[in-house]
């Protein structure tokens, strides 16, 4: 791949804290290598800001290898930028060319309040998982991993659902701010497996109740989530969640 350098204009959302209003600030960066990642470009910009005595831009990141799901940035109108099935940290500057203007915003969702600049609080996801994303395990010695036979197809589907990294791009992309791709994946990865069977009904009910409580919107099957998900999580998981919910809602004695 051809290596080149570029000068860019960045319009970045700056916001002091959750309560303050926030606005876009414009910055120029020079000599950015096409081999840098998007976050490395932000590192360069922040070094520059520190030298100028200004406050650096706050943004979330951790692994920088596409597995932790922290690097939430809405880049030029798309979560995680223009590349498909890709996170911001894995977005390389070769996706842009010299002279480009790039607009960077935080995730916009009632359930994900902005903490500062581009950082949002995604603990709503944690609370949804706490509401039902667990299984019962016997105490004592750990059981042999292969003690329970599992249909290969189901194991594969559960694994694909488990690939969700909880990044929140689905919520960010959805015009309704719905979290149903995330919750669908988290419900599916457990309900498809025999280990997840005991809590199957209460899990669906409790996680969906929590999801609504957090202020996420409702799915109207726009499927923007699937198109923008860095892990290619399928909307089939949303259908499965709807089915689980229907079964649980009709069949259970809990409320």
């Amino acid at each position: 791949m051809e290596h080149y350098h570029m000068n860019l204009t960045l319009k970045v959302w700056r916001q002091k804290n959750t309560k303050s209003k926030g606005n876009f600030d414009t910055y120029k960066v020079k000599d950015i290598s096409s081999e840098m990642s998007f976050l490395e470009m932000f590192d360069v910009l922040n070094e520059q800001l520190i030298k100028e005595g200004k406050l650096p831009i706050a943004f979330d990141h951790d692994c920088r290898e596409g597995i932790c799901g922290m690097c939430s940035m809405f880049i030029n109108g798309q979560p995680h930028g223009p590349w498909q099935q890709n996170t911001t940290c894995q977005l390389h500057m070769r996706a842009f060319k010299d002279g480009d203007t790039i607009v960077v915003e935080p995730w916009r969702s009632q359930a994900f309040p902005v903490v500062r600049d581009l950082m949002v609080d995604r603990s709503a996801f944690d609370r949804v998982i706490q509401a039902g994303g667990y299984i019962s395990v016997n105490t004592g010695n750990a059981v042999d991993a292969n003690a329970i036979p599992i249909d290969k197809k189901k194991a594969d589907e559960a694994f694909m659902a488990a690939a969700c990294i909880g990044c929140g791009a689905c919520v960010a992309a959805c015009p309704n701010g719905s979290a149903m791709l995330f919750v669908g994946a988290k419900i599916s990865q457990l309900s498809l497996l025999p280990q997840g069977d005991p809590e199957r009904e209460s899990r669906a009910l409790n996680m969906i109740t929590q999801m609504d409580k957090e202020g996420f919107g409702n799915c109207t099957n726009v499927y923007a989530c699937e198109a923008e998900c860095p892990k290619g999580i399928s909307v089939a998981n949303i259908a499965r969640m709807n089915k689980e919910y229907l079964h649980a809602g009709l069949g259970t004695e809990e409320n």
């Binding site: 992309a173 701010g177 719905s178 198109a227 089939a236 949303i238």
Partner: protein
């Protein structure tokens, strides 16, 4: 939304099928026969109540959905390339539904109101003996009513075409969406369901568009 949507989809099949009888070119005889059957049948009249209940429910659900989903995204993006990840009509179900509703008000005013509340009885009563089957009952000549509404009335025809156009996009999303809502998403069957949805939507909307257009153009008599 899914359940009420399914019901409305089923209604549209019956509605479209019966109205298509005007294409028999028999001066509306077959159409009037079935129109009378539907209008004078207790079961159908009961179902009509259900239809209105479901339509209102569908609209109320839609409004609640719209309000909740708007609240879930209070701050809009300055730059949003939604066209890269989804279809415009999937994102515009509320708008399309509202356009359909506006059209429906006019539509009900044209046919349903006069037929139910007497406006039609004075001018367009048929002797049912000519319709066969029903002895000595009065039946509305709904075919004549159609002609009176559409003939020489370009503006009304255009509004009807636009109404059906909105319905087309609403159903193109809605048909497959209703299955997903009920948890049906299958590697083999979902592409078939989507295909049937496209065919259903196209056929229904084409027939509905043809009705006012062919009456206006005098293609049928």
């Amino acid at each position: 939304m899914g359940l009420t949507g399914f019901f409305l989809i089923t209604f549209l099949i019956v509605h479209c099928f019966i109205n298509s009888m005007i294409f028999f070119n028999d001066g509306g005889e077959t159409f009037n026969h079935w129109g009378h059957f539907m209008g004078s049948n207790l079961i159908v009249r009961t179902m009509e109540l259900g239809l209105f209940a479901f339509l209102i429910l569908h609209i109320v659900q839609g409004l609640i959905l719209w309000a909740q989903n708007k609240a879930a995204r209070p701050v809009r993006y300055a730059m949003n390339k939604a066209e890269k990840n989804s279809k415009w009509y999937s994102r515009s179900m509320g708008l399309l539904g509202t356009l359909i509703l506006l059209f429906l008000i006019l539509h009900l005013y044209h046919f349903w109101v006069p037929s139910r509340f007497g406006g039609m009885a004075n001018v367009q009563v048929l002797e049912t003996t000519t319709l066969g089957g029903y002895s000595n009952q009065e039946a509305h000549n709904l075919y004549l009513a159609m002609q009176q509404v559409f003939q020489n009335n370009l503006l009304v025809v255009i509004v009807y075409v636009l109404g059906v156009f909105s319905l087309f996009w609403h159903l193109l999303h809605g048909f497959q969406s209703a299955f997903q809502t009920f948890g049906i998403n299958h590697k083999r069957y979902t592409p078939i369901i989507k295909g049937i949805g496209v065919i259903y939507t196209t056929v229904i909307c084409l027939l509905f568009v043809l009705m006012p257009v062919s009456i206006y153009m005098n293609w049928i008599n």
